[in-house]
């Protein structure tokens, strides 16, 4: 659960992006946030996972104020899929991309390797296992970035424009994944220009950002 309590945010004194937002995002619900370019959608997503911090208001993740946690600690609860997946890819191969944080932290186990193999299958990347990620198509890179988030067993994921600039097949795959994630009890927050994001029967909520305020549609 992510709680925003009276949160305001400004990049500079004259440009208030978010104004006194109070809202609770729960697991098991799919939230779709729309709004014009520059209306503060991405800023709000980044605030929710600690990538951006503000002193005006409180952001709580699983009941704890995020200012008391590092981004790494917050990411155990909240995942963030960037609009540009390349920002999230570092390793020389697709498989290493999934396991390298565990290698670095010294926590790479047989179970972790199994999970990586399974996610490669889920996201149809098993034949790309030894490929350099940045040489893959945008849709494949997007799926890989999503797989890296799923490696952490996260309960809530923020998707920043997850289906922009990708083909229909990949779009459908990501859409299907999000719906099944929510059906299985996960929470999803999608920042999207796609006003008609198909909620397909899952517990969903359409939101709109305007003038720095958050509205339910």
């Amino acid at each position: 659960m992510i709680e925003l309590i009276d949160v305001s945010f400004a990049y500079n004194k004259n440009n208030m992006v978010l104004r006194n937002i109070t809202y609770t995002f729960k697991e098991g619900v799919l939230y779709v946030l729309g709004g014009k370019n520059g209306s503060g959608k991405t800023t709000m997503g980044k605030l929710m996972c600690g990538l951006v911090k503000t002193k005006q208001g409180i952001v709580k993740v699983s009941g704890t104020n995020i200012y008391k946690k590092t981004v790494g600690e917050i990411s155990e609860h909240v995942g963030y899929l960037y609009q540009n997946p390349d920002l999230q890819l570092f390793a020389p191969t697709v498989y290493e991309e999934l396991v390298f944080p565990y290698e670095l932290n010294g926590t790479l186990t047989y179970e972790i390797k199994e999970r990586a193999e399974k996610l490669l299958q889920v996201f149809k990347l098993e034949d790309k296992k030894d490929t350099f990620p940045l040489l893959m198509s945008l849709g494949e890179r997007q799926r890989l970035a999503l797989a890296t988030i799923m490696m952490r067993d996260t309960k809530f994921i923020i998707f920043d424009e997850p289906t922009s600039s990708i083909d229909a097949e990949c779009k459908a795959m990501i859409h299907e994944f999000i719906l099944s994630f929510v059906e299985n009890g996960g929470g999803a927050f999608i920042i999207s220009h796609d006003e008609d994001f198909n909620l397909n029967g899952v517990n969903g909520m359409n939101l709109r950002m305007e003038g720095g305020m958050l509205y339910e549609k």
Partner: protein, 245 residues
């Protein structure tokens, strides 16, 4: 606010002050050159404190090197001794102060260039007979530095999102993670540069050997006066620095 001087004159200021800071052999000359560049910054309406803040990482590195240099340089009068060993000597102190002044001067000199936009600087370089393509590439490269910095910072955040606390990693693992970040950051920049090059080709860049400009740079009376004053001061300092030894 943009400088009203011709960008070539600003480039002259940068070259002269940087040259003096390299040639100055003692701390007094370095201090004089530093004060002159500081004065130029004030005349150009630049805030030196803001410069210090913007370059805070570089400044802290310079101070660290200077501190280290003061400890490792021997000679001169001992200032701090510990168990009979000279920790800091007068020569070490003067050398490290000279280093700080020299680097500070170069930083302040470079800041003068920020009072012109990259378009002006490219035109200025082209007027100095630097091949236009080379001048253009320099301009683009300078534009890429902050972009590259931002991309690097974003990737550090993305690594943190994967549950890696870089601060807590051992040095060998830190090096590994930075190499992981550096490779895509550089390849990303190369891809961006390639896209810019293709985009420029499609817009006719390099299609004709001679270029025309909407705004043609022309030296004005104020530019000539500034050039004469700057060159005279430069020659005077060089004369007193070397000829009267």
């Amino acid at each position: 606010m943009k400088s009203r001087l011709d960008p070539r004159i600003t480039m002259l200021f940068i070259v002269l002050t940087s040259t003096l800071s390299v040639l100055a052999s003692n701390v007094y000359w370095l201090l004089l050159v530093f004060l002159l560049t500081l004065l130029l910054n004030i005349v150009f309406r630049l805030n030196p404190l803001k410069t210090l803040y913007r370059m805070r990482r570089l400044v802290s590195m310079i101070i660290f090197i200077a501190f280290f240099q003061s400890l490792t340089t021997s000679g001169g009068r001992p200032i701090i001794t510990l168990l009979g060993a000279n920790i800091v000597t007068s020569k070490g102190l003067v050398d490290s102060l000279s280093f700080v002044l020299r680097m500070g001067n170069i930083m302040l000199a470079v800041m003068l260039g920020t009072k012109h936009d990259s378009r002006d600087m490219i035109d200025g370089l082209a007027k100095l007979k630097i091949p236009y393509e080379l001048a253009f590439m320099t301009g683009i490269a300078l534009k890429f530095i902050p972009l590259f910095g931002q991309e690097f910072a974003d990737r550090i955040k993305a690594v943190s999102l994967r549950g890696i606390n870089i601060k807590k990693l051992k040095l060998s693992k830190k090096i590994k993670i930075y190499s992981h970040i550096l490779v895509p950051a550089i390849s990303g920049s190369i891809i961006k540069s390639r896209d810019i090059a293709s985009s420029m080709e499609t817009r006719g860049f390099r299609a004709y050997p001679d270029r025309t400009n909407l705004r043609v740079l022309k030296l004005k009376l104020a530019d000539y006066i500034a050039m004469i004053i700057a060159s005279s001061i430069f020659l005077l300092i060089i004369y007193f620095m070397f000829a009267r030894r």
